[in-house]
Symmetry: C2
Subunit: 475 residues, 2 copies
């Protein structure tokens, strides 16, 4: 950042354009007129406009704005805003954009910005930087803050310790409500906002927690230990964030104490961070089912292409497996071309029925609603659905195929093959995810390939095999 950029002549004689109070259009995207104004203000270095209309945005709005403008505009905007730039917005943008912006900032500027943030947001930004930059930035922070951030960064990636906030309010159990309220009124070094007060012993061991409404409703002379509740749901700092999120969901928690190996309070995990985790996990499952890894919209062509190659490669192998099944029956196809015309329909319908069952199974496994107590019932149900829909669509495709090729035999053959394949699809759709899960593999990642392989192979083999046997053709 150069001095010249920092202090342009503010165009005070110009009346600034009136920015809209809601920056979003109907469809949820950032309004085009607002983008135009911001673009013009960046080009004109109109600090007055930017401070008034951009710096005052909520962090998530600023994040959406950063995602909607060009990279050069982003860099210029961050430069122009200087210390008015709220770095919390960086936690709201794609990883690619975050790294791009941070790369353009000096370590001094980042350190100054990070100092203003809550520790969980600071860790979120710091954890993606390379070791050298991170060390440099940390060394520029005040001692207590540096120690706090380093402690959080020491916990494994995606652990509760990484997502926790290290600022919290804690009081001893023998205090009264009056003492606690006086402490809160007088103490200056408290977090900006908090929703729970923790109760600890002299060694920082967690004893309980207090909801603020209980404090407000109790008389001044009441002892804290009589209105606190035991925290059954304190979270070990090493716990995976997904597991922590499930605890929040199950017990409707708003915030939870994070404790170290010795049961000492080290931080607090809040529901807003957990909501992000829930979203991320749901997104991951969906993307994995679609055969896509951890990619972001801001990724380049090369990296996107690379991340999608593995699944396509596995698919190429299973495609050749299916092709070799078909090649077993080349003599049959040569004599009855109708089989070649119809066979993709048998395989395709099976594939779809299989992916329906698989989607339900994978989701049920992810939410832990499918387990040993109901697996047998669900398998029976899916088999039933497979047979029922198999007969229904088998008959439908049989009638149409029979009329199309004026051949009742081909109608009967395709109907039978379809029935068999729909049953195979149903069983594959439930059993494959169950088995993968049993052996510790993520069913969302790998089920689809196996299910399609089964439905393709069974579909081609059943249809062409039955036809070969029925017409008495030998290869």
């Amino acid at each position: 950042m150069t001095d010249r950029d920092d202090d342009p002549v503010a165009p005070e004689d110009m009346k600034p354009a009136e920015a809209p109070s809601d920056i979003y259009a109907e469809d949820g995207s950032v309004r085009s007129d607002f983008l135009t104004m911001v673009g013009a203000a960046i080009a004109d270095r109109d600090l007055l406009f930017l401070r008034k209309n951009v710096a005052r945005l909520h962090e998530s709005e600023l994040g959406d704005l950063l995602e909607s403008i060009l990279p050069e505009q982003r860099h210029a905007l961050v430069r122009l805003l200087g210390s008015d730039f709220d770095m919390t917005a960086l936690t709201e943008v794609d990883e690619g954009i975050r790294l791009d912006i941070v790369d353009q900032m000096s370590n001094e500027q980042i350190a100054a910005g990070i100092g203003e943030l809550d520790s969980d947001d600071a860790v979120y930004i710091l954890e993606d930087l390379d070791d050298e930059d991170r060390e440099d930035i940390l060394s520029q922070l005040p001692f207590t803050e540096r120690v706090r951030l380093m402690r959080a960064l020491d916990y494994p990636e995606s652990s509760a310790g990484r997502r926790m906030q290290t600022e919290f309010v804690a009081v001893p159990p023998f205090w009264t409500v009056g003492q606690t309220i006086d402490y809160l009124r007088e103490e200056e070094e408290l977090p900006d906002s908090f929703t729970q007060i923790f109760v600890i012993d002299p060694t920082f061991k967690l004893v309980g927690a207090l909801d603020l409404d209980k404090v407000l409703r109790a008389k001044r002379q009441v002892k804290i230990e009589t209105i606190m509740h035991e925290t059954n749901h304190s979270i070990p700092a090493e716990m995976d964030q997904e597991e922590a999120a499930q605890l929040f969901e199950q017990y409707d928690l708003l915030s939870a104490a994070v404790v170290d190996d010795n049961g000492r309070l080290v931080g607090v995990l809040t529901i807003d961070d957990v909501v992000d985790v829930i979203q991320e996990e749901a997104e991951e499952d969906l993307l994995r089912l679609g055969g896509v890894g951890d990619e972001e919209l801001s990724d380049s062509i090369a990296s996107t292409s690379r991340s999608r190659v593995p699944w396509l490669a596995v698919n190429l192998i299973t495609a050749f497996l299916s092709a070799s099944v078909i090649s077993l029956f080349d003599a049959t196809i040569q004599q009855i071309v109708a089989l070649a015309i119809l066979m993709p329909a048998v395989a395709g319908m099976g594939g779809n029925a299989g992916s329906q069952t698989m989607t339900v199974s994978v989701r049920a496994l992810a939410t832990k609603s499918l387990d040993i107590h109901n697996a047998a019932r669900i398998i029976r149900r899916e088999a039933g659905v497979g047979i029922l829909n198999g007969m229904l669509f088998g008959c439908a495709i049989g009638v149409v195929a029979g009329i199309w090729f004026q051949d009742i035999h081909i109608g009967g053959i395709i109907a039978t093959a379809m029935c068999l394949n729909m049953l195979a699809a149903a069983l594959a759709g439930i059993l494959i995810p169950l088995v993968l899960d049993k052996f510790g593999a993520d069913p969302a990642v790998s089920s689809a390939v196996f299910v399609t392989a089964v439905t393709d192979i069974v579909g081609f083999f059943a249809f062409l095999g039955i036809a070969t046997w029925w017409y008495g053709i030998s290869g």
Copy 2:
């Protein structure tokens, strides 16, 4: 419920079995030994055990238990627990199980149980009942509670008004912090717990909101209006719950005021309900992408089968479309059977590449990260990825096919067709969801059918068409 069930002889001389303190096994399912104990206690009508170990469970644990036992056991358990049965647990189970349990209860029993619940949980249970039972149950509730529930039930399904809690704490702006704390200490008719205090004028119009930590940290003589914040994010009762959830997520809200058409405060929406909405919506998107509607694990074979028919039916039509494309080239297939063997590979690889792009697009549209500002860039990126991966896998499949059939021509033909189909897949994967979204259709529901149809048709047409032209075969 008969009297006999209500008051069996408690087996006081028997030492009750020690139930485990954590009812969950490693894999997240309910522990089998606990299920066995509960089953035995139900069979023995061991009220002591059930009251001690089942009635004290958290609502979500009780819900998981209900989902893990047999229907007869469920009915008996609810009967045995009587008024000790926490009806909140019904909000934690599958719709099918909820209706089954409620069906077995008398309206008097339901009314008594509902009276104990927060209004949002009560509405959640009441909204699924048929009109007659609902009227009957409501008529047995005290007047104020009946009016509250009826007001919430009047709002449309899946609206914020349905999900809100009608109990809240509100004070006038001219009160001091001292007056507010005294009111909270003395007033008995307050909700069990709350995280915000709302500020209203004499006509109940919402003026602002107060976080509890701010109240605790202010001196007694401070006026409420000086520490309250304006609620920019109050939620109209008619707003769809999904939209409300997005506001919570974007602005990290813990609770938000719900207001009627005149800006009057009618309730409060809390983050724990919103977390459920977020989960449901993510689940819906995933199930729809997999071609499955709103089904539950407890659904019967018949209803599951029925709910999956529509998508399979559409798929049958597109399968015949693809088949008729193949039939255009029957003369070619008859001469070169290798084409029939390889053509599913071309279509299948295209289908997978298309579903990768589609998954990313549908997810990005759902989270509003794909909009007009970046659509052009994403389309270009996906086209680039399609061409890149098309060339890569085109070459791979070309080499293998060429070697397999000892025919360099067939290798070249399949490589070219694969390239074209991967590009078509990429474009279909992004453009189809975008167009569906533009016209107000849910891209998650319908994209998959269209994308597969495109990749099948382009795959077969390109491969067989190029082969027909290259070998100079006429139909």
